[in-house]
Homo-oligomer: 316 residues x 2
């Protein structure tokens, strides 16, 4: 491994926060040597619990994440927070930072906050979150929270990088079935009704339970539905205990671990192939000739893509 990578790894996992940030950035950007760096970090990871937090905007995910972080910090644990905002490279992290400052945890030495956006994450958002969680894990953080800004399809993909997925709902956001977007039910390991002091909280809890019953997957235990009030902190202690216990169980579940590794390998391959295609063809004469013949009405993008693919895979 190149010396600059080795130094960043040593310093970054040794407590140097700036080095840690730079290490993450270089891996996100897929700078030459990133793969060797991740290979070196991999055996040092595997201790941290990785928890994904998702839910509709305004559900109080950031407040809840900072409450959770504060409690864990009080227990002497170190917490990494990955704030993912696929819609903007700027707002997400800043907003979360503000929220955390509110609870006086942002500057604590046991907390490390990292923002992520689609741009600049060349490995894809989900693999990006996996890589960052793994680096923080190797750097000795006990728990990594991956928090999304919204609950879109991108974000559902991102929290799949976690051992455990927490879905946050709030009363008064209309029909619960509407609030819980497609795909969320399938990935939730734990539901939290936040702002549980509000009117409609009981109904929401009941709605979630009946939706879970309706789905009626016999293959796994129904996810529990907890209540919190992130502002006052009520219920967060219980939530943290449930999270830690469930994250341990999820990690030791062999089937799921296998499926996640399988998916990660395929995602890494796809990312590499996509980058290789761009490296090889973008700006090259092969592509420019194809563009010209399409503009001249002699070809079409589908034929051009096929022809280039055939040069890549002669055995097809």
């Amino acid at each position: 491994m190149e010396r600059v990578w080795q130094e960043l790894i040593d310093a970054g996992t040794g407590g140097d926060r700036r080095a840690l940030g730079r290490l993450i950035t270089r891996v996100e950007n897929r700078e030459p040597g990133w793969r060797e760096a991740m290979k070196a970090l991999y055996p040092r990871s595997g201790r941290a619990r990785v928890v994904g937090i998702t839910g509709a905007p305004g559900a109080g995910k950031s407040s809840l994440a900072s409450r959770i972080a504060a409690i864990l910090l009080g227990q002497g644990r170190r917490v990494g927070i990955v704030a993912v905002d696929p819609t903007s490279p700027f707002s997400g992290g800043a907003l979360l930072g503000d929220r955390l400052r509110m609870f006086d945890v942002a500057t604590a030495p046991g907390i490390f906050i990292r923002s992520m956006a689609t741009r600049g994450t060349l490995g894809g958002l989900c693999q990006g979150a996996r890589d960052v969680a793994r680096i923080l894990d190797a750097a000795g953080f006990d728990l990594v929270l991956i928090e999304t800004v919204g609950a879109g399809q991108d974000e559902i993909e991102v929290v799949k990088a976690a051992d455990l997925v927490l879905v946050v709902c709030v009363p008064g956001q209309g029909d619960a079935v509407q609030t819980l977007k497609a795909g969320i039910m399938e990935i939730a390991d734990l539901f939290v009704v936040n702002k549980a002091d509000r009117e409609g909280a009981d109904e929401l809890v009941a709605d979630i339970h009946s939706m879970l019953a309706l789905r009626g997957e016999r293959s796994r235990e129904a996810p529990p539905v907890l209540r919190t009030c992130a502002l006052s902190g009520e219920g967060v202690d219980l939530l943290v205990a449930a999270l830690l216990e469930r994250a341990d169980r999820a990690r030791s579940s062999g089937e799921r671990a296998g499926a996640r590794i399988r998916e990660e390998i395929l995602t890494l391959i796809e990312g590499e192939l996509a980058r290789a295609v761009r490296r090889r063809f973008a700006g090259g004469s092969r592509l420019e000739e194809a563009v010209k013949s399409i503009r001249d009405g002699e070809s079409d993008p589908y034929s051009a893509a096929q022809a280039i693919l055939e040069t890549l895979e002669p055995e097809r």
Copy 2:
């Protein structure tokens, strides 16, 4: 080409709406023969103007799209609408359908509405939108509106499939700079301040102009900023005229057309490679062995991905 494809193409482009819907579905699902079908449709496309509409949720994009559609319909044109909701496979289209029914255009024979979501669009959301627009184009629709539900990164990608991008803003959604997420400024060809009868409309128009001035790209003319009120219909006539005129200009701009073809070829290649990887390795012994050795602590996902990649590309 297989007979079933040929029949769907003939019927679908000949006015049979059910056949058109089925044709689109089969292409979206990348069913065997999809590529030959798109090759056959390609030379019949190229007449329609494709307009992307994006903006924050609640900006009135759907109402505006249906107003635009109603005006074009009144001019004897046929309009295709592609409603994209990356967050849900269900809600987007239904909501848009409701909205259009409000204006009595949904059932008009000159209107065809299609919903799209991330799931079930195996070619990726942006290429999916391109394919649908191209099929509608070949079926004789004069204008295709690609409307997104939100303004996330996914949706910015989607509207890149259009000749022209319309960004809808509304007064009273806070700071205009906040409303216009990163990436939107770069792709907008036309801004619309909708609900322009509301307080704050003048300030919003001014804010957009100063943002555009700040950016100060000399290389291209600043996008115009129009005002509409989708509910009353005010300003929509002018918007339609501007859209038609600008879409023509955008299409005849050679540089941009070249860039779009280039991007489409690369996207098609990436999509094919990703599907090929899944077909070839998912469930296979090569992948299962890799998973096992990672779980046994003898390897890591980065090394496994690299090893599989090397089997794919021997010359690397």
